[in-house]
């Protein structure tokens, strides 16, 4: 115990400052910046993900138990799969599909593909 109390909790301080900076940055992106909306959304998402990692590593001590490596690997892999499923599906499936039945060129393309 004594060792722990003497040591400056560097991780916590870095994590704490990091979280605050990220939060302020996110707030500023949404309120103060004049970026276009898609950029704002992307920025907030990226910041949120970094934030999540700070929480996991610096506060929840994910890597510090004896199965830490396994936990970290598991989280990263899970994260990877989630991104693949969501982003991958959107990327591969967003072609020629539209629910706008106004008869524009997109719809035609859509019908063409249904023949296969």
């Amino acid at each position: 115990m004594s060792e722990l109390t003497k040591r400056v909790p560097k991780q916590h301080i870095v994590g704490f400052i990091g979280s605050i900076v990220l939060t302020v940055l996110a707030a500023w992106t949404a309120v103060g910046s004049n970026l276009p909306v898609p950029w704002i959304i992307t920025a907030i998402m990226v910041l949120a993900v970094i934030q999540a990692f700070i929480q996991l590593f610096m506060f929840m001590h994910m890597t510090e138990t004896d199965s830490g490596k396994i936990q970290a690997g598991n989280m990263l892999y899970g994260f990877f799969i989630a991104v693949v499923i969501v982003a991958g599906s959107i990327w591969t499936m967003s072609f020629g599909y539209t629910h706008d039945h106004g008869g524009n060129s997109d719809t035609e393309q859509h019908e063409e593909h249904m023949d296969h």
Binding site: S67, Y77, I81, S89, W91, T92, M93, F95, Y97
Partner: protein, 651 residues
């Protein structure tokens, strides 16, 4: 009167002579089983020893028996298709019946044959290989098995009750949707896979925890036998891939039964999203059924080449890479859907990349055999045959991976040849190899070598005669899932059908060998039938229910080899302590039986009965939650008696 009408018109499948025959035989066999069990007073035995067991070894054996039965069913389907395709203008099966048969064939072979067979072998072998006394969650393990068994039952009764699904094992919407495919048939597919999927997911979790947490002292991860490694990686893929299938099946079920519009053509649905989700699970799935087989071949090749596995680390890392890559190639199953060039190119490249770690393994096996003193027992023969056949499958896979070329190959017999070359030469040879290899451990005697070799040659030669011509049929334009052939495709189709018959003969001989060996094979007196290297061979035969009386300390890879060298054993009398074991339970069986009732009701859209069944399932969960039975202890005396008896023959 209404009821009778319903029974004759919708409930039972009528009007097909083949199916009447099947019904009669089902009834006869059921009666025979009930009669035998009653006559020999075996009901209690069945319940105590099998239906309620939580022993990983017995569960493994039940998995394997069920998988062999499913291989038979799927094989009969296959033979019927081959009959229909042998000559142009055959009228053995009409197109509807043909559609149903290729659907049940594909689904059964992958979901109810390949996976359970491998999971059965994992169940039996993995705890023994890592020095554990059971899996981490024995109750859950029993639950997994019964969910698979009842899922398989549900799927299999479809052809006599209500009609079989007919939209292919891939079940693409809108074909499989409620509009184009009304009635219960397609629901059988959805519910059968859903129910058995619960078990598969639970198995994945179970084995991850078992392997990470229950290894014998000193067995570091890098000292684990390679089959255990392959099981671990497979389990990880299962845990991440199966939820995708679960969700996709649920969405389609809601579409069909409650009229939502996820995959429908109308109402803003997106039919191709089904294909997308299906293959997001489906490609990892093909690795789920091949990695354990790779593990089996590695064990066998190392044992029979009498050498340590060459490139153990490369094997492990290549599997880790496969676990990641297998999730980023799925679009290669629908290059022709029409996504843009960027998408297709990306997935072309990832698909070719995944062939690299797979290729690495081939060199590992060759390296293991190099300068080995090879013994040619049956398990080794299967492994040797696997290598060239699988290479053919892999190389043609890379051909399919070129998106532009795939516009030609897609949905032709070229594809059919490819996946049979990987699935049969990989998974099925692997299952046969593994079963023959571990048979003496499981049943106390080897399978007869001579009969085993005859069955091997029939099967392997038949396999190549059956499937190699299909590559050329594909190039000649024969489409997949067609129920009649053109005259110019006849010669190669006749050849293929002859091959199929040879394979069937091989399978029958394999099964006959089980009977023959049971009667006549020499009984094993030691636990080490093949001069093995991994820890499973350290136990006696038959394996005591607690597996290891004492756990040896593991000080390197090939634990048993080292143990033999220093003369150690798993029975050190001075270290004996009472062993804690889990109690048997009837809850998994009953719970899944109720799940069966609920899903059967859902298939027929009888919502009230479905809810009643589900409530039953929940009641079982509650009962389990308040069950404070912590298992029991095996006394030192009993361990001594068991071990002394099992080790009598050894001296």
């Amino acid at each position: 009167m209404d009821l009778l009408n319903f029974l004759l018109e919708d409930f039972f499948v009528t009007g097909q002579p083949l199916i009447y025959g099947a019904m009669v035989s089902i009834v006869l066999v059921s009666f025979a089983i009930v009669f035998v069990l009653t006559y020999f007073k075996k009901w209690g035995w069945l319940w105590r020893e099998w239906l309620t067991t939580v022993d990983h070894k017995k569960i493994g054996i039940m998995y394997i028996i069920a998988a062999l039965a499913m291989l038979f069913r799927g094989g009969v389907d296959a033979l019927m298709m081959r009959v229909q395709l042998t000559l142009p203008g055959m009228e053995f099966l009409d197109s509807q019946h043909y559609n149903e048969i290729f659907t049940t064939h594909g689904t059964i072979m992958i979901i109810f044959m390949a996976m359970p067979f491998l999971i059965g072998l994992m169940n039996y072998i993995v705890p023994l290989q890592i020095g554990a006394r059971d899996v981490a969650f024995p109750f859950l393990n029993a639950l997994s098995f019964w969910s698979f068994a009842f899922g398989a039952l549900l799927f299999n009764i479809s052809f006599v009750i209500g009609g079989s699904p007919d939209a292919g094992w891939t079940s693409y919407t809108p074909m499989a949707g409620a509009n184009l495919n009304p009635g219960p048939a397609q629901n059988y597919y959805l519910m059968g896979l859903q129910v058995s999927g619960i078990g598969t997911l639970a198995t994945g979790i179970n084995f991850i925890v078992t392997i990470l947490k229950m290894r014998a002292p000193g067995m570091h991860m890098m000292r684990m036998p390679i089959f255990t490694w392959s099981t671990l990686i497979t389990s990880i893929i299962i845990v991440f891939a199966f939820p995708i299938l679960t969700v996709a099946l649920a969405l389609m079920t809601i579409d069909r039964i409650f009229g939502s519009h996820f995959f429908t053509l109308t109402g803003e649905g997106m039919p191709m999203m089904w294909a997308n989700l299906f293959w997001l699970w489906g490609h990892p799935e093909v690795y789920i059924v091949i990695l354990p087989a790779f593990g089996i071949f590695s064990e066998i090749i190392s044992t029979f080449a009498r050498k340590q596995l060459f490139g153990y680390k490369a094997m492990v890392y290549s599997m880790v890479v496969i676990a990641a890559l297998s999730f980023v190639v799925w679009v290669h199953h629908f290059f022709t859907m029409g996504a843009g060039g960027a998408v297709n190119s990306f997935f072309s490249i990832t698909t070719m990349l995944i062939a690299v770690p797979t290729g690495v393994k081939i060199f590992n096996w060759l390296g293991t055999m190099y300068k080995g003193r090879i013994r040619f027992d049956t398990p080794m023969l299967w492994s040797l045959a696997f290598i060239p056949c699988f290479v053919i499958g892999g190389v043609t896979g890379v051909m399919l991976a070129m998106a532009a070329a795939d516009y030609q190959y897609h949905n032709t017999y070229f594809l059919v040849a490819h996946f049979h070359y990987v699935l049969i030469a990989g998974t099925v040879f692997g299952c046969f190899a593994g079963l023959t290899y571990w048979y003496p451990k499981m049943f106390g005697h080897k399978l007869n070598e001579k009969i085993g070799k005859i069955s091997f040659w029939f099967f392997v030669i038949g396999f190549n005669i059956c499937f190699f011509p299909m590559y050329f049929l594909g190039l000649a334009g024969m489409p997949r899932r067609t129920y009649t052939i053109e005259p110019e495709w006849m010669p190669l189709n006749v050849t293929a059908s002859i091959g199929a018959v040879l394979m069937a003969i091989g399978f029958v001989i394999f099964v006959y060998n089980i009977y023959y060996s049971f009667r006549y094979s020499k009984r094993e007196t030691t636990g080490d039938a093949w001069d093995g290297r991994a820890l499973e061979w350290a136990t006696t035969t038959p394996v005591p229910f607690y597996n290891f009386a004492t756990l040896p300390h593991i000080d390197g890879s090939e634990a048993f080899w080292r143990l033999k060298e220093r003369g150690g054993s798993t029975y050190e009398t001075d270290k004996l302590k009472p062993i804690h074991m889990p109690s048997d339970s009837g809850v998994p069986f009953i719970m899944m039986a109720l799940m069966f009732v609920a899903s059967f009701a859902l298939v027929w859209e009888w919502i009230t009965l479905a809810i009643v069944g589900l409530i039953g399932v929940i009641v079982c969960m509650v009962i389990r939650s308040f069950d404070y039975d912590d298992g029991f202890y095996v006394s030192v005396d009993e361990i001594k008696r068991t071990e002394e008896k099992a080790r009598e023959g050894e001296q």
